[in-house]
Amino acid sequence: MKKDVSVLTGNEAIALGALEAGVGFASAYPGTPSTEILENIAKTGGIYCQWSVNEKVALEVASGASLAGNRALAAMKHVGLNVASDPFMTLAYTGVNGGLVIVSADDPGMHSSQNEQDNRYYAKMAKVPLLEPSDSQECKDFLIKAFEISEEFDLPVLLRTTTRISHSGSLVEKGKIRKHKPDKKYIKDPMKYVMIPAFARTRHKILLEKFESLKEFSEKTSINKIIYAEDKRFSKIGIITSGVSYQYAAEALNKYPVLKLGMTNPLPFNMIKNFACDKSLIIVIEELEPFIEEQIKASGISCIIIGKSFFPEYGELNGEIVKTLNDFISSEKILENLSAYTSEDIEKKIKGFKEKKSNLNKDKEKNEIKYFIKNKIPPRPPVLCAGCMHRPVFHILKKLKVTVMGDIGCYTLSALPPISSLDTCLCMGAGVGQALGAEKADSYYKNKVVSVIGDSTFFHSGITSLIDNVFNKGTGLVIILDNRVTAMTGHQANPGIGKTLMGDKTHMILPEKIAEAVGVKNIRIVDPYDISLLDKTIKEELKREELSVIVCRQECALINKKKRLKKFYIDDSACKQCGLCMKLGCPAIEFKNDKYFINQAICTGCDVCSQICPWDSIKINNENN
């Protein structure tokens, strides 16, 4: 084994790439699957890095660092770029000073997201260069390349990964670390950086010119390359692919020549034409949208092009899905009759092949077992942790039968049984506005709708909707679930914590102070572990004909459990087996051998179940103390 090779995830490789590219500044808002980029940059110790309050701010501060001459990086998950899209679109006009790269980590299959949008369209819409790495080595190499392109063309560059790139590990060879220094002095240039209409019109034209030279660059760059196949019998068919889809194609379809695109905006149309000129059928393999396929079709290439009529337009691809293309080509005798087929013929064959496949019931008995197993084995969805501070809040909201306008965070899990309390989850910050809208649309919702938002989410995009509530005389109840950390993505710092990503102490911004400052008159702070107080407070504030904010404050149970030592147990002699404790959905409470009991290894001693038990049967286990 070579000493300088290690297995790194895509995110770790991007962090290493940042060091080797001489990045001086990195910012992000945490979001799966992008979070570990900044966490790993922070570990290197050599780069200034920060969690920003949201993705828009992350990109804006990064653009400031670029203006000041640094190579700057802003990382976010795909939906984060929606938030940052405002500065992103106009940064294409102003261009950069030091190189500026935006990493967008998309999530096909929605392992941890509310949608699976394909962010490659952002690059096309903004006319910025787009790079798509296909493994960890390329994550590092393409990031370095992205900075070179950014500085050469005076444009921000979008580096787009997907979950399978960000969270997959593969071998990466370490290179030389480049010392960062703000070597590009900022020169005042209002016509470049002040986007008033008169200047912006000029900058738009300049952007179009840059895009023309980028097209030439895309034709020549080594990151777009053809991988020829040895066996010439298959050379009438060609594969065009990018990102992780390349890996599936390389494995399952290695007998065909492949055009592997590393740069997918702008596409190298001449290269594609040359690749296609001796072929009869081009198969475009890409996840989600037909981003490459549609552009190739529109470019007027004469051979038959298929893509999304064969592969799904949703979810992830994998080796098995891509492999079915082999079955199609052989079973429908595509290669043999290729010269006689029209595009319509092929599409018809695909339709027929798919129908046949779905009717195929190869091994009936085995499928029956599979069906049985899939329906019988108990599902294991993620649940709120034992001792989670969100549990009592949603237990009470469910009891009150109010509509709960929700948000994105651990507490979104309270939409699932047995808590089943949350009504909506649209995007970060949405719930506080949705509650106001419902109340204005139908007075029935006065005193019947509550919005919930986490601490990090409140700072991210809840403050503006709270102001909207004050401004427009909302009378609802906003509950801020302050568990003192950005929990869902793995405990990142946020403005309420008093500590930065780099570990420095900073001012602790409290949500109640913001609520007070914007004019909320009724603000209550409650420890959600105190059930009767929480219940009373929610009822009082729900009834009130004025806007109120309740801050439920208690540390995240995963941090908290290390400090709490008491445990609870169920006293069988007192337990009436009503099952109320079970409705909390706490993973520590189990039912075995006709008895309810508390798993001592999981209990965190939050004391919530003992307070809701009507029979006082849940007691402190003194033996453990």
Binding site: S112, P378, P379, V383, C385, P417
Partner: protein
């Protein structure tokens, strides 16, 4: 559970031959959030690297700490392309019922190793589900190579029940042409010094299950 050294060597020879033919071996680690699946995956990736293989790992861990099902996949060989396991040579599960979630990637000769340790999911309390008592029989319908292992007992004997992952990894290591040195170096690289000795011991104990 008895398995002879002779029998296990036959498996080992088979995978050694596949690797010589430049084929890729695919392994899926399954379990429940908090069981150390990602650590087991990381140890094995390092061991493969030390052994001179190309290796790719893939994990889905957004919900890892919220008690959901977690998987880590690992593929190794001369040259690996896809990072995901669509068809598994090995499924190694740290919990009893978990391997049944991945029946779609079983092959007829898949080796199915699972820890008989149970973690009851919340759905068995009131959602009309029950924990299956016949996991082994169900698995045998897919492959004859089913190996239930009491990794909890092994780990507990060596002082730390949490080390079930290295115990199971130890047993699993018997099937692969990866040297004991590479495994040991990998464990030393990944496991924190405070629990290193326990994990090295449980790995060895897990490995020696075959000689019982």
């Amino acid at each position: 559970m008895r398995i002879t050294e002779n029998k296990i060597n036959k498996y080992k020879d088979k995978y050694e031959a596949l690797l010589k033919k430049e084929e890729t071996i695919s392994v899926l680690f399954a379990g429940v959030g908090g069981q150390g699946i990602l650590m087991a995956t990381a140890i094995m990736a390092k061991a493969c690297l030390f052994e001179g293989f190309d290796v790719k790992v893939s994990e889905i861990h957004g919900m890892a700490q919220r008690g959901g099902s977690v998987v880590g996949s690992i593929r190794f060989g001369k040259k690996v392309f896809s990072p995901t396991v669509d068809s598994a040579d090995f499924v190694v599960s740290l919990e009893e019922v978990e391997p049944l979630r991945y029946i779609d990637i079983f092959k007829e000769d898949s080796i199915l190793i699972y820890n008989t340790y149970r973690i009851y999911p919340s759905s068995v309390y009131g959602d009309g589900y029950s924990y299956p008592e016949n996991v082994r029989q169900l698995l045998l319908k897919f492959s004859e190579n089913v190996f239930p292992i009491d990794a909890y007992k092994v780990a507990k004997q060596h002082g730390k029940s949490k080390a079930m992952n290295t115990a199971l990894l130890g047993f699993f290591s018997n099937f692969l042409p990866i040297s004991a040195d590479s495994w040991e170096e990998a464990i030393k690289d990944i496991v924190s010094p405070a629990v290193l000795e326990i994990n090295l011991n449980t790995f060895k104990a897990g490995k020696s299950i075959i000689y019982q």
